[in-house]
């Protein structure tokens, strides 16, 4: 409960940072817009620019703009997107949802891969399998996600003659949500999931392996073995449970990484998630749209950290009773 209350000033601080960040570039949307019009051969006079500024509230001092924005956000009104000429809420809903689905499923994928491999690498230390997984893990850490995406795209095009980008098949792109669309999403989701998850999985495998190795030589393991417990039961019942802690506590930093990584990968693979629109909004100084994305992404990671703390307390009595 106290943690929950602590989150509110935290998110408030995040919102100020975010707003300061998007106001940082010199100039504003109107200026960009005017430049674009001028490039297209139209003339824009100062009076028009001033009236546009007034309409969007861009002539106000920055703290008043912030206040207008944040007081709207609290009641679910994220403002108006200048570029798209519609309320931000309409734009971000599905995209943030898909970003969340992608991040969450990648997290599950990361665990599903890292847990068995980490255990295997620790139990069969210095076996051929351990070396292979260690090597793959290092490569996974070294290759940036977008590069992996590019390579996969190349393989997709040259070997399978298929475009691996996007999250939906063409007929489903604009379709309303239905069961068939969900199935279609699941079919496409695995590619960004694997790309995004490899780096995180690689580091989790290293952590899991190191932790389990610490536990495997503890006297209590020998005791349990001496009592005649089968090797599998023994492993699952004691050392793995303890070695699992970092899995949960890493949600805190894995999630920000996933959200970060998903931005770039979405741009490369052209996914309908938050990434590409965020980039556009930042470049075009569409301040409320960019602000809404940044704020929600940061909030997502803060919530992730909170969830990991709560899970950790549930999992480990030593932390609960501290």
């Amino acid at each position: 409960m106290r943690r929950l209350a602590g989150m509110i000033p935290f998110i408030f601080l995040v919102s100020i940072t975010v707003f300061a960040l998007i106001k940082l570039p010199p100039g504003d949307f109107v200026q960009n817009y005017a430049a674009a019009l001028a490039a297209a051969g139209e003339t824009v006079d100062d009076a028009m620019m001033a009236s546009m500024r007034q309409r969007y509230g861009l002539d106000q001092p920055i703290w008043i703009q912030y206040w207008d924005w944040i007081s709207g956000v609290v009641v679910g009104d994220f403002g108006y997107s200048f570029q798209w000429q519609q309320p931000v809420v309409n734009l971000i809903g599905e995209r943030m949802g898909l970003t969340f689905v992608l991040s969450a499923s990648t997290l599950l994928f990361t665990w599903a891969v890292a847990l068995p491999i980490g255990v295997y690498s620790a139990v069969r230390r210095y076996s051929i399998g351990d070396y292979i997984f260690t090597f793959i893990g290092f490569v996974g850490l070294a290759v940036p996600g977008f590069l992996m995406g590019l390579v996969l795209m190349y393989v997709g095009v040259s070997v399978f003659h298929a475009d691996v980008g996007g999250l939906f098949s063409p007929p489903f792109v604009d379709a309303p949500w239905s069961w068939a669309r969900v199935v279609d999403l699941a079919k496409h989701l695995w590619i960004p999931m694997v790309i995004l998850g490899t780096g995180g999985a690689a580091s989790l495998i290293r952590i899991m392996r190191a932790n389990l190795l610490d536990q495997l030589h503890q006297p209590y393991v020998d005791t349990a073995r001496a009592k005649g417990l089968s090797e599998f039961t023994l492993l699952v019942r004691y050392p793995i449970r303890i070695a699992l802690n970092p899995f949960v506590s890493t949600i805190g930093w894995v999630l920000p990484n996933l959200v970060s990584g998903s931005v770039i990968i979405s741009i490369v693979l052209n996914l309908p998630t938050a990434g590409p629109v965020l980039l556009q909004a930042l470049l075009g100084q569409d301040q409320y749209l960019a602000g809404a994305f940044l704020l929600l992404m940061c909030t997502l990671t803060v919530i992730g950290t909170l969830v990991s703390d709560i899970l950790l307390a549930l999992l480990d009595p030593r932390i609960r009773f501290q």
Partner: protein, 370 residues
């Protein structure tokens, strides 16, 4: 007594020497060290090592495919160790009429060591035209790693890109290090309220998703700035987020050291705070700091690559691996010229080598590890 002798003076060896001895045993780390020394040497002497001027373009050689080096030359009947590549000529696909490069077995371009070629100003002030290797005739082009969409040599561009990409890691880490040591040191040494505050700030920064924040900061840079200014600002942006990890390491060690007896005795001897921190505490942190720094550099390099790839980092005509990868952003160019992905291989090799090196250093720096 004899044990001392057989150990070859191990008991009297300095901490640095012991660390080096432990490090030597770590084969992967030694390998990483060799690779990194090599890469930084290449970056330092890029103008000399690259066979061509990275900006030398040729509209007729657009997307020229890579040429393989043949070492054994049998053109004059016998055979000789004389490296050459087969020249390519432009032909049209009989069906689609697409222009396409086909190997021309009749013409061989011989490669030589230390040839005179494109002129350059090494480090902007030493003029020269000597290249480590290159074609016999300076007017020929040889594309060991293919050409890009303006007919420029990808190999030369990767070599020149190493300079920005590798140095951004070093500069960025220096900035991070200064921030990290200052704040981590303050936090760990004084504890209490300062510690609480610095820790909250660090937690705050860590919980922010880095790439959206970088994007926002990098988008704030005016596009008309000179490349050098952009380069330094990007470095600062990257290190603003990167210092937290170092600060944590420093703080943890400081907290641990603060209660160590040698610090207490220094304090009892009446050493000033400055002396305690710089003379007694920092030296015992050095090895850990070096290891953390080595592990932080690859993160910086990846960050720069990502930003430049998205078009928010270094802008052409500046060359960095990320900026080069930007050329390979869409499916069409990857499908027609997959060699444009090769700068990514350079990134991966660098990051891998630095990770091995950092791992080895960390193990070697820990006096309790066996």
């Amino acid at each position: 007594m004899s044990a001392t002798l057989t150990h070859g003076g191990l008991e009297t060896a300095s901490q640095a020497k012991l660390t080096w001895l432990r490090f030597r045993r770590h084969k992967l780390a030694m390998f990483g060290l060799v690779v990194m020394v090599l890469l930084y040497t290449i970056a330092l002497f890029a103008e000399f090592i690259a066979p061509f001027n990275p900006d030398r373009s040729n509209a007729r050689l657009v997307f020229h495919p890579p040429q393989a080096i043949h070492f054994i030359d049998d053109s004059d009947g016998g055979w000789a160790l004389r490296p050459y590549v087969n020249a390519f000529r432009l032909a049209r696909d009989p069906v689609t009429l697409e222009p396409r490069f086909v190997p021309d077995a009749s013409r061989r371009i011989y490669l030589h060591w230390f040839v005179r070629g494109d002129g350059y100003d090494m480090w902007t002030f030493i003029p020269g035209n000597l290249h480590l290797f290159g074609p016999e005739n300076p007017r020929d082009m040889v594309f060991l790693l293919g050409a890009d969409r303006q007919g420029r040599d990808v190999l030369s561009r990767i070599i020149h890109g190493a300079r920005a990409s590798l140095s951004i890691g070093l500069v960025g880490v220096t900035v991070s290090l200064m921030l990290g040591i200052t704040f981590g040191g303050l936090s760990g040494y004084y504890g209490g309220r300062i510690d609480w505050f610095v820790q909250r700030v660090i937690e705050f920064i860590i919980s922010l998703p880095t790439i959206p924040i970088w994007l926002a900061l990098a988008a704030a840079l005016p596009k008309d700035w000179p490349p050098m200014a952009i380069y330094f600002t990007i470095t600062v942006i990257i290190s603003l987020i990167g210092w937290t990890e170092l600060a944590r390491v420093v703080r943890g060690r400081f907290l641990q050291l603060r209660s160590d007896s040698f610090v207490t005795s220094a304090w009892l001897d009446g050493c000033s705070q400055k002396r305690i921190i710089f003379r007694h505490m920092l030296p015992s942190l050095t090895s850990h700091i070096i290891a953390s720094v080595t592990l932080a550099i690859p993160m910086m390099i990846l960050a720069e690559t990502s930003l430049s790839f998205l078009g928010l980092g270094l802008q052409p005509p500046a060359i960095s691996w990320g900026a080069l990868l930007k050329e390979a952003q869409n499916v069409q160019s990857i499908a027609s010229a997959p060699w444009l992905l090769l700068p990514g291989a350079a990134v991966a090799i660098t990051v891998l080598a630095l990770n091995f090196l950092g791992d080895g250093l960390r193990d070697a720096a820990d006096p309790h590890a066996h």
